[in-house]
Assembly symmetry: C2
Homo-oligomer: 327 residues x 2
Amino acid sequence: MSSAAATQLVPVLEAGGPELSRQLHRTETRLAEVSESHGAELGRHAAATLTAGGKRLRPMLVFLCGGEGPALTAAAVAVELLHMATLVHDDVLDQAGLRRGHPTVFATGGRSAATATGDLLFSRAFAELASTGSQEAVSALSAASSALARGELVQRADAWSDSVSPERYLERSELKTASLFSSACRLGALLGDVSSGSIAALAGFGSSIGLAFQILDDVLDVSGPSSRTGKHRGTDLLDGTVTLPLIIARRRDPELAAMDLRELVSEPAQAEAVCDRIAITGALGAAREQALHHVAVAKAALGGVELAEHRSRALDLLADGMVERYA
Amino acid sequence: MSSAAATQLVPVLEAGGPELSRQLHRTETRLAEVSESHGAELGRHAAATLTAGGKRLRPMLVFLCGGEGPALTAAAVAVELLHMATLVHDDVLDQAGLRRGHPTVFATGGRSAATATGDLLFSRAFAELASTGSQEAVSALSAASSALARGELVQRADAWSDSVSPERYLERSELKTASLFSSACRLGALLGDVSSGSIAALAGFGSSIGLAFQILDDVLDVSGPSSRTGKHRGTDLLDGTVTLPLIIARRRDPELAAMDLRELVSEPAQAEAVCDRIAITGALGAAREQALHHVAVAKAALGGVELAEHRSRALDLLADGMVERYA
């Protein structure tokens, strides 16, 4: 992660207290163990992926929803491994050379090594979760994993399309992003110390902040600044991904709507120009409003859940953080 | 599968009796359900993969080791889904257009769809097995899945190498083939009706026949006839896979050993010529001897296992079938 990307999590970590810090530390230790437990070459690739870091947002959700204990560590490690598996496979498909400022497995090991590394991380995610002995937990992770794969496919199927509706965009975001956030919360609730009546509400919380996270990600792809996001503006445009800001802008700017995206953006400089054009329509503010709506829905879902005050507070802050990145 | 490829399984099916046929039928039904339970596009790709068929060797192992029941069906479906996931990913890496005479997902849907389809099949494998509620079973499948990924990586790392030892070849075959055969037997034993003391022996049986299967596959790649294997001779040579017949032939033919495989085979006609050169050394017979050795080890492992007579007989025949293909 860029350090800037994590600044909004500082209040969450403070609110989560020593319990959250301890659990995140255990997660890192276990992730390192997992990456070292394989053959030299695969270990190197897996280790590079794992230690490249990230915000560990999904593990945080597990702990804030569930509390503390070995089963929760296993669940946190599992969701992070699954998340990483999808990143490694995405990098293969995007032929991406860098992620979070580090060379990708695809860049250092090639297509085969990256595909195998992703498959290994998938396998290890399920192995880790199986250690909890909870069938419901494995089923929940598997459902999320299926959703991620379907979301990836929907995204590629819709690439370059001029007719993606906001509903279709949300459906895709549910699959490719919200499902794993929701699953992290569900696993925390299933394996943790909350009442079973709270599981659905916490899963709903995760789903809503996942949508907010995805929308903001898509706003940031257009708005930049690239000095903080670590990538050029308009990266999504360049691979034809139709995001909410573009969908809204097309409705407000008929000329933009009439243009063929494939002809419009064939190089980064053109993508930046389209980003500016999207921004002029006010689509970024409108998209951000929608993200804020999902944050509000998430926080409302927390209302009926009995959680220790500090965890409830940390989840609230985490929800706010979805939209406050670089704000 | 080509129908010729399955003929050696007829005696196994006969020995397995109505119980085995029933269970295999249930497996097909469940595989069809799984493929239909996803979005239209992914469903189409998954369904095409699943219905393209195959010998269902791994499900047979589950049932012959474990008997009958819903948990065994789930395990059989899981191993077959995992097997298919790896085939779909392999086809992406090999850019393969056909498998078993049908267009691959890579050919019809492209790289992205095939990667996502493979990921989905992976996920569904674990979901299916989780329904058994057995943590040991999920761990066993996960271990096999990790091994498959590592085996794939070892194979790519060793591609075009002039110094692959027979031991290294066996290690790779253990990972990429024998692990899933072994896992199928282990799952059958874990979830079925045999005593827990028999689990290790049955897993060992699976591992040994898996090695025999891989060696014979590699012999057939050199010997053909392509009319029966459904592919050109020397396919492995063309992508640099160093198999046991080549390793043995290099030891017997110093001139062959001194040649750079990459220069030697750049088109199918050259590959066929190298196949002939390998065959002349007698390497195919020597490799087949090694496969027979592993079949004998497998059958010996069965000796101490208490199994119903018809299942024991079917496993014996299945072991023989590993080497009798096209013999």
